[in-house]
Amino acid sequence: MTSALSNATGGVTPAKSVPLASRERLAYWAFRAPLIFMVLFFAIPMAMTVVFSVFERTMFWMEPGFTLQAYENFFFSARLTNFLNSMKYSLISVVICFILGFPIAVFVRKSIPLVAQHRVVLLFILPFMVSEIIRVFALRPVLQRNGLLNTTLTNLGIIDEPITALLYTHTGVVIGEVMSFLPFIIFSGFLAMEAVPKFIFEVCDDLGVGPWRRFKDVILPLAAPGIFAGSVFIFVNGLGVALLPNILGGAGAVNAGLIATQAISALDFPLAMAVSAIMMATLMTLLWIGHRLFDLTKILTPLS
């Protein structure tokens, strides 16, 4: 039996050549490696973040102790308002990214030949090859008072006065988030659309189902886990990337990442740790809700 199989596979020796004991050892580690990874790179850093957040603050650093001062500083100050505001604007960014990005993902899956789909998606991901700080900075000459956009609109006679709400405002931050994170929703939408067989479009066409109903009743339920994953990614980045409000936001545009950065500037490390812990708790809660609603393990189902 064994030699026949070897012959049938053209002499290529399958996995059976690996001794059983080694395979068992590999299997043992294959199941535990993700666990070790999670413990090393998530659980321990998170636990340390929470522990440091209750340490006593000193002039230059912190010392072991237990105080909830950092959390009090967060929840009973303008920081909480800023955090909630940044959640609101991140949500707006998610919605805009979805409206702009998901149709692209559907279009690629539905209308681009299979052989070219990955290349087309790659085109949308290419901007990621450029440093984010360069991409964000490049928005300034476009959006500023005498920038490209205002100059063009003025020259076309569309506006008389420059639009100043585009930069150093929450709007500026949302524009930056959409420009920075749009590829995430395209990519996750593209993956999510793997759960939607191509023949479904044809069936819908045959049955005369309109685009809206097709989207609402067929595509959205099937692609929901992937869309949710992409949305969470954008939302969390909107909360945490301090670069965007720092460069495009004005005096009032502050997100959680910037709150943590400002805490570090004030050498208030326990507060920075508390902000990080709160952000992580927010993320975990979102993921838990998403998992309960959509079963996020389905994201990888089409690939398996």
């Binding site: 230059f60 100050s77 303008a78 005498n146 005096a251 009032g252 500037s265 050498l267 208030d268």
Partner: protein, 387 residues
């Protein structure tokens, strides 16, 4: 200064220069490059550090540094700064105290800097600026630039000279005003205004009590909530962009920002003299403890010697608008007319006169990056940021 003293000083300087120009420089070049943590404003001449290297005779591996005081503290006191940098710059009159008290920087031997005698008299023991380079009576820093910060304004748009901080906080510039994203200069300048205008009960804007810090911060928070500030700037480029793009018409900023902003599009952006006073500051060069332990002292002193030379002073005044920290700059410029054309010489003279005018204002206060109530400054500044 008598003739004998002058001759001795000149002799020492000449000997130092000769040493740097001959074998010493060659030896230093052969050494490992000095790892210098400093902002771009610490260099003059070529775009890179090659002119500074040529003058000092040492290789310089410059690592970009921001002007934020907290960054220095983090790196040098709780971080790995001493492993990374041999020398660094920061504000004098506070930072050298903080770093020296934590053992992060090394005491200096002025006798190893031939140009030490060129330094402005105010830095000598007992002088008005003596404390800004000393900790516990010992020298820990070498000054290389200073200034009195003021208000930059777009004259073309505003149509009048501004000579009061009142303009920065005036409602006519709501949404078109900016200040620095740093508690030191922003709280100090605001406190100077509040004190001199009688709107705040502040004794010493350089070293405020907790209540005075609260008053100052609450004043800014109230304005911020009204949308008065377009943004708080970070760094020279950011500050200059805000002015040149007309995002803001008035900005409390460094003179170099006004110079760059005016130069960018040829706009008439000016730097005023504020009747209430200005925040004065200097920037100093320090030898890190790590640099000393790695045997980089010779390279450090060679660079420090350049920073106290009229060659550097003339160029930092002409290019960046900073005040030279040594005597003999005018003589150097006169002696080297091929290096500075007539327009540049006139510009330098004008800058020196305006600096003198700012320096003479009674309400000036020193920028204290390490005030007594540092925690209050930090806490209230974070509330300004979060408001």
């Amino acid at each position: 200064m008598n003739q004998a003293e002058f001759n001795r000083r000149q002799f020492i300087a000449l000997m130092g220069a000769a040493t740097a120009a001959s074998g010493f420089g060659t030896m230093a070049h052969a050494q490992e490059a000095l790892k210098l943590w400093a902002p771009g404003i610490a260099k003059v001449g070529a775009q890179d550090w090659s002119d500074m290297e040529a003058q000092s005779g040492v290789g310089i591996n410059a690592i970009a540094k921001s002007a934020r005081a907290d960054e220095s503290i983090q790196k040098m006191v709780v971080g790995d700064g001493n492993a990374l940098y041999d020398a660094m710059t920061d504000n004098g009159g506070g930072m050298e105290d903080a770093l020296a008290s934590q053992g992060a920087i090394a005491e200096l031997d002025p006798s190893r800097i031939p140009n030490w005698g060129n330094m402005l008299p105010s830095y000598r023991e007992g002088g008005a600026s003596a404390d800004t380079i000393r900790y516990d009576g010992k020298v820990f820093a070498v000054p290389y630039i200073s200034n009195a910060d003021s208000l930059a304004f777009n004259y073309a748009e505003i149509g009048e000279e501004l000579n009061s901080w009142e303009a920065l906080f005036d409602s006519q510039f709501r949404g078109r005003a900016a200040m620095q994203n740093d508690f030191g200069p922003t709280l100090t300048n605001t406190a100077i205004y509040l004190k001199q205008s009688g709107k705040g009960s502040i004794d010493n804007p350089s070293d405020m009590t907790e209540d005075e810090v609260r008053q100052t911060a609450e004043f800014l928070i109230a304005l911020k909530k009204k949308g008065h500030f377009r943004t708080f700037w970070d760094g020279v480029q950011n500050g200059a962009d805000l002015l040149s793009s007309e995002e803001v018409l008035v900005s409390s900023c460094w003179e170099v920002i006004q110079i760059f902003a005016a130069r960018k599009n040829g706009q008439d952006i000016r730097y005023g003299t504020m009747k209430e006073g200005h925040q004065s500051w200097n920037n100093v060069l320090m030898l890190t403890r790590g640099g000393q332990e790695r045997g980089m002292e010779d390279a450090f002193y060679s660079l420090a010697n350049v920073y106290l030379s009229p060659w550097f002073g003339a160029r930092t005044l002409a290019g960046l608008g900073f005040t030279p920290q040594m005597e003999g700059v005018t003589e150097y410029v006169d002696a080297n007319p091929e290096e500075f054309d007539a327009d540049t010489r006139a510009l330098m003279l004008d800058r020196l006169e305006r600096k003198q005018a700012r320096r003479m204002v009674a309400g000036n206060s020193w920028q204290n990056v390490f005030p007594t109530n540092m925690r209050a400054y930090q806490d209230w500044w974070s509330q300004v940021q979060a408001a």
